[in-house]
């Protein structure tokens, strides 16, 4: 059959784009067309209790229990009409990539003529339906879990086996065997209608919220995981700080060791410096050391043989009296002259008194005289310089 497209050019482009977009998505699903209702539009979604705000915003878990499904049909359709539709309208469209417009049936989707299917009886609300619209449904919508608020996607018009068309054998088996994904299934397989059409957008129809248990687990993880991270970081920092503390302790130990070492060096240094100071002081004292032997040597050198010193009292001041005895005045005079000529020893010589020495029975034995001498500087200190 030729593919006739009567759409305008611009709409045709849009259609091609849409088809190509859909072709990228790999999906295979059944499209089963049904007729409408005379009096009112066909309600594909089962009449259900008033949806709660919860279900309106977030949708519900796609869990359904077939036992709770109302068995009373809403739409009724004759088996003959269904036979007509089942053969002519059931199509399989595969939009997998690489198979653009891969339509199993010969008729294209845009050109399918939708037949009008008569409804035998208008939809009537039962007592159960009325109850669903009441308070119990409100409570159920809020607290009763998700089942009451689940969007019942598939109409239950043909859920009853007695109303299910029996002439489905004319439909190819491969079409029958095409199963919708289980998560999309809202009706048990046994009661599944061939008119399983869900016009709710995919994003809303199959939107799932994690349940309370998962929320609790997520929250616990949201608390425990950051806490563990923080604690782990804290533990790492603690370990690093302990490492630094150990380093500090080791360095402090090294400081103590070095301090002791330096202190011992300082003690030794102070002691050595003290010894050095002592040594310098000793050197100074030796430089100023008084050598009386030098004085006596010079005195002996410049003393004549006939002259004798009776008493001696001298100090390092350099001026002192020196009583002496000479054999005669001449000898005393010579001694004075010799001392005056001893420039390396005597600076000045004076004689205050000269007298004869009378020793009683022995008579005159000599001449007493007293020398007042002033010696040169350095006589007591320059012994080593002396010849």
């Amino acid at each position: 059959m030729p593919d006739i497209n009567l759409l305008p050019q611009d709409l045709r482009r849009q259609e091609e784009k849409e088809i190509s977009r859909l072709a990228r998505k790999t999906r295979t699903f059944d499209v089963e067309l049904s007729g409408g209702v005379k009096n009112k539009p066909v309600s594909i979604v089962e009449s259900k209790p008033k949806a709660s705000l919860w279900s309106k915003i977030f949708g519900q878990n796609v869990k359904r229990e077939s036992k709770k499904m109302p068995e009373k049909p809403v739409l009724q359709q004759s088996s003959v009409e269904i036979d007509m539709l089942s053969a002519a309208r059931k199509q399989k469209i595969n939009l997998s990539p690489g198979k653009k417009n891969n339509i199993v049936s010969k008729s294209a989707v845009p050109t399918v003529k939708v037949p009008v299917i008569a409804v035998k009886e208008p939809v009537k609300k039962t007592e159960d339906d009325k109850a669903k619209d009441g308070w119990s449904q409100i409570f159920r919508s809020i607290f009763g879990g998700h089942q009451a608020a689940l969007p019942k996607i598939v109409d239950t018009a043909f859920n009853s086996p007695a109303q299910t068309p029996k002439k489905e054998s004319g439909v190819p088996k491969n079409i029958d065997k095409v199963e919708s994904k289980s998560k999309y299934t809202t009706v048990p397989k046994g009661n599944k209608s061939k008119f399983n059409i869900n016009l709710i957008p995919e994003e809303l129809a199959f939107r799932k919220h994690i349940n309370r248990k998962m929320q609790s687990i997520s929250m616990v993880f949201a608390i425990i995981l950051p806490s563990l991270i923080v604690y782990g970081l804290y533990a790492v920092l603690q370990a690093y700080q302990n490492n630094i503390d150990r380093q500090i302790t080791a360095k402090q130990t090294e400081i103590i060791r070095l301090n002791e070492k330096v202190a011992s060096y300082k003690i030794m240094k102070d002691r050595n410096i003290d010894l050095q100071q002592k040594l310098l002081a000793i050197k100074g004292l030796h430089d100023e050391h008084i050598y009386w032997t030098n004085f006596f040597k010079l005195l002996e050198k410049y003393t004549l043989d006939g002259v004798q010193f009776t008493n001696f009292s001298a100090d390092i001041g350099g001026e002192f009296s020196l009583p002496a005895i000479a054999g005669s005045y001449e000898e005393a005079a010579k001694q004075i002259v010799v001392l005056r000529q001893a420039t390396d020893f005597i600076k000045d010589v004076k004689v205050d008194r000269v007298s004869l020495r009378n020793s009683g029975l022995a008579g005159i034995t000599g001449v007493d005289f007293e020398l007042k001498i002033k010696i040169n500087d350095g006589v007591f200190n320059s012994i080593k310089k002396q010849p």
């Binding site: 809020i142 950051p226 360095k251 400081i255 030794m268």
Partner: protein, 203 residues
Amino acid sequence: MINQIKTKKNINGEIKILIDKFFGFVVIFVAIVILVIGYFILIQDEYGEIRRKEKVDLIRIQSLIDKLAREDIQGKHANQLLEFTPVEEHMISLALPDEFDLPSLMIQLEGMAKKNNFAVESIEAKYPTVAADNKKNKTATANVPLKKINVGVTVVGGNYDNFKAFLGSLENSIMIFDPSSVAFTGDGANQKYKLNLVTYYYN
């Protein structure tokens, strides 16, 4: 009443819906809050302490160690240069003792006198006295480590040559003796030799 209950239920439901809707954000927010709180309670102080220890303590200690190490090396070399042998130290301490030791002095003088045929008749030590009203001199004396002690020694029994030898012994003694005055009286065996010596100690 029914309306109030209904309103309350609706509010609760809306809260639940909001929680559900933003649950992911709530979880992330809670995690971030815990991380932030944990940081400020545990991490921040710990990290600051580590930084302080790293930047202040360790560097200060290391600089101190470096300084001590330098002092250690310098002290080691200085001591090697200034070091005295024990014998040298002993000689220095004999030449200039740390304190005036009269018994040691008596032993030394008696030994030298005997060596030169003298007998020590008397030894008299005159400690340096500081006038109580002369604080300046006291301070000056206290600050000078080299102290002087006047010691008077009288020896008898020897002759003039012995006396000269005795003087020579004093001059060549390790301990420093400076005779400030010499006097001898008498003649023959009764001659007495009196010396006023100045000796020193270092304190």
